[in-house]
């Protein structure tokens, strides 16, 4: 079982590396944000697998923290320090 999960972990890490390359290539900011999102999710997946493989149950706590902070950082990336998130401002959203 450990061998299988280790292989899966290696695979997820490879996907994460692909996500890194996507950030490198761009081209637009949107693609970079998507790649960051993929890195966050696959990082959490890798962490859960690693915790099981290495027998560190606290890895789940790390994953919880990472999930919350990844959401926070992703949103900070999308906002990029601007005070107004333009697409979300009244007027530019679709009529509800």
């Amino acid at each position: 079982m450990t061998e299988f999960l280790t292989t899966a972990l290696g695979f997820i890490l490879a996907i994460l590396a692909v996500g890194l390359i996507r950030i490198l290539r761009g081209p637009g900011d949107a693609d970079r944000m998507m790649a960051a999102q993929l890195i966050g999710t696959s990082g959490i997946a890798a962490l859960l697998l690693l915790g099981t493989v290495s027998g560190v149950p606290a890895a789940v706590d790390v994953a919880l923290t990472l999930a919350l902070l990844a959401a926070f950082t992703s949103i900070a990336f999308v906002k990029k320090g601007t005070s107004r998130f333009e697409a979300d401002a009244p007027g530019s959203t679709e009529a509800e």
């Binding site: 972990l9 890490l13 490879a14 890194l20 990082g43 690693l50 919880l64 926070f72 900070a76 005070s83």
Partner: protein, 315 residues
């Protein structure tokens, strides 16, 4: 064993990809993204090194909060990037820097390979004295009891950094509110997530503190989550950053260090030394310090990310 070794080599290679990207990227924002990914992967390394406490800290502070701080700074500095990107140091300097860096790397690599065997360790000493505090997590024991002085001074360093950041404000804005006022559609997605996520985050943050008695966790890590949730609510425009002159906020900033100091002085008065906890009360005292500290840490970290005052208090 070879399976595990292969895994470690793959992990190290991916970590270094992030590091190379952080240095080599031409634009700043992708470099910051690379650094955040690097921090995330470093958390994996820490889990692998048997240090989930450090993994939590790296994931929360090293990657998440530092990332948010760097992103907003990078976005504000973007307009200065144009002429700067062209400006490159000459070839000789770069070659010299490369030689120097390679030399440092080689020296460190050699010292890794030559580390003494068996390694010196204080783990046995930490285990022998664990009964004195009644806590099961050795790292919390070291942070809160054996080396409590370090932790207290670190709180004061955080506070000094905040004072430093605040004092960068122009005179006329002193006492004002940090950062820009954020606005977002109150019915929009951002406001939605800023309403749903923080309650979950607060529970997780307190859980991380609570569990730190016997399992990996702690006040820094929990406090960072709380700070991130507060910043999220601010980013969604649901609340405003308080003016730096606000008295309640100042009290919260001081709560952790003051409780720490009082307990420390109590040790001096009733016990053997500064910060010596009486055996019977060690655990409740440590918990009291940690609860005061998580509040202070959350407020301090949040305000450090928010930055110096930029608007007048009334605005």
């Amino acid at each position: 064993m070879t399976f595990a070794l292969a895994l470690e080599i793959v992990l190290a290679a991916v970590v270094l990809t992030g590091a190379v990207w952080t240095i080599a990227s031409r634009e700043t924002l992708p470099a910051v993204a690379g650094f955040v990914a690097y921090g995330l992967l470093l958390a994996l390394v820490w889990v692998r090194l048997g240090a989930p406490d450090v993994a939590l800290t790296e994931a929360a502070i090293g990657s998440g909060l530092t990332g948010a701080l760097l992103v907003s700074a990078a976005a504000r500095l973007r307009s200065s990037e144009g002429p700067m990107a062209v400006e490159r140091p000459d070839v000789i300097l770069r070659v010299l820097a490369a030689v120097l860096s390679a030399a440092v790397t080689t020296a460190l690599a050699i010292s890794v390979l030559l580390l003494p065997d068996p390694a010196p360790t204080l783990a046995t000493a930490a285990a022998e004295n664990a009964a004195a505090t009644g806590l099961g997590n050795p790292v919390t024991n070291v942070l809160m009891a054996f080396r409590a002085m370090d932790t207290m001074l670190e709180k004061i360093v955080l506070l000094l950094a905040l004072v430093g950041v605040w004092s960068l404000a122009p005179d006329r804005l002193w006492g004002g509110r940090p950062g820009p006022r954020h606005h977002a559609d109150p019915q929009g997605v951002l406001a939605f997530v800023a309403r749903v996520l923080p309650p979950v985050g607060i529970i997780v943050g307190i859980y991380i503190l609570w569990t730190s008695a016997d399992h990996p966790g702690g006040a820094f890590q929990g406090g960072t989550i709380l700070a991130a949730m507060w910043l999220l609510v601010m980013m969604a425009g649901l609340t405003d950053a308080p003016p730096v002159s606000e008295r309640r906020q100042r009290l919260l900033l001081l709560a952790g260090p003051v409780v720490f100091l009082i307990v420390g002085l109590g040790g001096l008065a009733f016990g053997d030394a500064f910060l010596a906890y009486p055996m019977a009360y060690a655990k409740p005292l440590i918990l009291a310090i940690e609860f005061a500290m998580i509040v202070t840490i959350a407020v301090t970290l949040g305000l450090l990310v928010a930055g110096p005052p930029e608007r007048e208090a009334g605005s």
